[in-house]
Symmetry: C2
Subunit: 447 residues, 2 copies
């Protein structure tokens, strides 16, 4: 037996009809981060130092953790000229691909923007009520550095912010050797990022949250990072806006006999290659398709550069699940609330209405998660680990705030009376007075 | 000098033109919660016990902390009949006021719902892209119990959830003597809450976040609470959806010479009477108006049942600020990003365009914060303590999730090529394979 075959044999195989299915699925889904009090204290100290000492502390940490050579935080900024130079020297095909992706991401988010304008109405009494929608002023984008570099993540976070109308976009990204990945810088140029600093870790989150002499304080920070970054985001929660703290990524594929097993194998691998904790699940009413897909996985695994990561992910957190019909498959998906849901079936529309929580829904055989990761248009920043139950994809709305607008008029005796009455019942006399002075209660006159 | 006059004399008076204005304003705004590691550990232990032991632990804590007499968690549920009975026996005027408020809150949020429907479009290549908007399945509403009882908060949280289409609304509220406030129960009946449990504190948050044998796990928890509740929400962050963790409440009033000083005094008091940390700020281009308002405050204070709280709030965190013109007043508001912004000026429209972050904007002399707290329509749950920079009022959108919808077709060679190219540059070969199998690259054929 080849290594590949044994890795795929280790992938959990479940039958949705078996009595222990629920508990086995739950065990597979369970994901708990180990809280680490040493990490918490280290991050708290870094945040306090950057908050209190500003640039001095930020520079110290950048030298210590990232080997920065600069003698000031200003020296850690990448100039606009350098961003343009990175774009100019980028491989032509890659530049064209990033620009195609950027155009599509922009188009999608412009539709999103247009769907949620400010609005107001007048009620029967002539009072105006409404909602103002405005961009936040300044956003911070965290882009992980180090071995892996993801220009796609720059596009997927910066473009929704830009479309929302955010005034200033600050990108931070650490670079162990001082020079960020050129494709990441080129993507920042394409997306229209305003300023880029080569800083990272908890110190970068603290700098964005509180501001330093050189780094402007932002209103919201988005983007994934390592455990220091995640812990720092947790600790500044409430001080600054945040996107979700990302957990491991997952895909759930619902497939029927019309699906191509080799394509499904690649799709499952594309999830699994992210990291060992990524989760790839295939649910089908066809045992034959599941068998063929597992065989294709065994065949393809050796050709994958990241075969070790894929094998570890598939063996520990992957599963194929056979069920009686596609309705049962949808019920399983609804329970998982997957980040990515592929409907690799002949008739996706027959399932759509019954599908509940999912970050992104990919319909049909020509719509693998990978096109959503790079080029289709919607952001690839999606709620992971079941948080699609209550969270949404990163979008223009994450870079906007809403304000309620109220214009109650002198004629609103009814609103005034109701305010006075409820305020008195809650024993908030000043609230009652505030209304009663404007609308003396004609009924009892005891305002 | 009377006690009232001295309390108002203690209210900070600032001049926006003075050199130390920025630092004095900042000192007044600064608000930091003291983190309390004993509290953290106590709450962590409660959460762990409820998560692991379910009803048994929840009942123990409810007996211990709230003096519950029931011998099961089921015994802590208030029946639908009891809710209706509370409504039937409510004071007629109060019932009419709550029903008027409920109707207006429903109207406003139905407009909000209608403003953000699901949408999709087809691009030039025939690919469909869109966004599905759906209600979350189950929401939990935390309603503080104890001395103060706020039926208005039930309406302001439950109705947006109901309008969003949330399937099941679970309300929890502690009651030291076992019986929740009848007006709160009546408001639950009016708002259409599905189930009510007399539980509270960190144990109630844990029960909603993880579920117990009797309490269903919810997808999102909203509503304010004491420090145990706030800490518990912080600790379950990421496991369950949350609204913001509320800080002290504030109002900023921009007023000109056309404003009524007595009305403003009542408005400032209506903020200050919430608690000692509440913040009431008056900004005006008229020193005369400020003087008249301070005099009205001194005159009115003694008549307020909560005069002690008002005096403490006004003296420690309140301020009047004189500035050269209304543009300067708007700039101050934008810096504060107040929860409530009143425009008590002759021409609010002249200011609106320049106003930045604010939770709710109250336009004109007949639109005090109090009408928004109770009856105008928009929710009174608003971002506090400057978080309007990045947060929004509680709304229908808080009880909805969005899913991206993608339906890329076989003809999407361009998307396929871009996906393959970018994935290769990021060294994610399985992603590239997933696209290249579907759209073999006609250019280089090396998929």
């Amino acid at each position: 037996m080849s290594v590949s075959a044994s890795a795929i044999d280790a992938m959990t195989a479940l039958d949705a009809g078996s009595p222990d299915f629920d508990s086995r699925l739950q065990a597979l889904l369970d994901w708990s981060e180990v809280s680490d009090s040493a990490l918490e204290h280290q991050v708290a100290a870094i945040i306090a130092a950057v908050r209190d000492l500003g640039d001095t502390a930020l520079l110290d940490y950048s030298r210590h953790f990232d080997g920065a050579q600069a003698d000031s935080v200003a020296g850690l900024e990448i100039s606009g000229d350098a961003l343009q130079a990175a774009l100019q020297s980028l491989d032509t095909d890659l530049r064209a691909a990033l620009e195609l992706a950027a155009g599509r991401i922009r188009d999608y988010h412009e539709r999103q923007l247009a769907q949620a304008p400010s609005w107001s109405y007048r009620d029967a009494g002539g009072n105006e009520l409404g909602q103002r929608v405005r961009p936040i002023t300044r956003a911070g984008l965290y882009v992980p550095g180090g071995k892996a570099a993801y220009p796609s993540s720059v596009l997927m976070t910066a473009i929704p912010a830009r479309v929302a109308g955010v005034e200033e976009l600050i990108m931070v990204s650490p670079a162990p050797d001082g020079t960020p990945n050129p494709a990441v810088l080129a993507a920042a140029a394409i997306a229209g990022v305003d300023r880029v600093f080569v800083i990272g870790g908890a110190q970068a989150i603290a700098a964005l949250a509180f501001g330093t002499e050189t780094i402007p304080r932002v209103d919201k920070i988005v983007g994934p990072g390592n455990k220091y970054v995640a812990e720092a985001k947790r600790q500044v929660f409430g001080r600054v806006g945040l996107d979700m703290i990302a957990g491991p990524s997952e895909v759930l594929i619902i497939a029927d006999d019309s699906a191509n097993p080799e394509w499904l194998a690649a799709d499952l691998f594309s999830q699994a290659e992210h990291d060992e904790n990524a989760q790839a699940l295939l649910v089908s009413d066809s045992a034959a398709l599941i068998g063929a897909t597992r065989a294709a996985m065994a065949r393809l695994l050796d050709g994958m550069p990241r075969a070790d990561i894929i094998a570890a992910s598939i063996a520990s957190r992957g599963a194929t699940i056979v069920c009686n019909d596609l309705a049962a498959a949808v019920a399983i998906s609804n329970r998982v609330a997957p980040e990515h849901l592929q409907l690799a079936v002949a008739d996706p529309d027959a399932l759509l209405d019954d599908i509940g929580s999912a970050g992104a829904i990919f319909c049909g055989h020509y719509c693998p998660e990978a096109v959503g990761d790079y080029a289709a248009g919607p952001s690839h920043v999606l709620p992971t680990a079941g948080t699609a139950r209550f969270s949404s994809p990163l979008g223009v709305y994450d870079f906007q705030t809403r304000s309620s607008l109220l214009r109650v008029g002198a004629a609103a005796q009814d609103i005034g009376n109701a305010t006075t009455t409820i305020a008195r019942s809650e024993r908030l006399a000043a609230h009652a007075l505030s209304a009663a002075l404007r609308w003396p209660d004609k009924g009892d006159g005891d305002a």
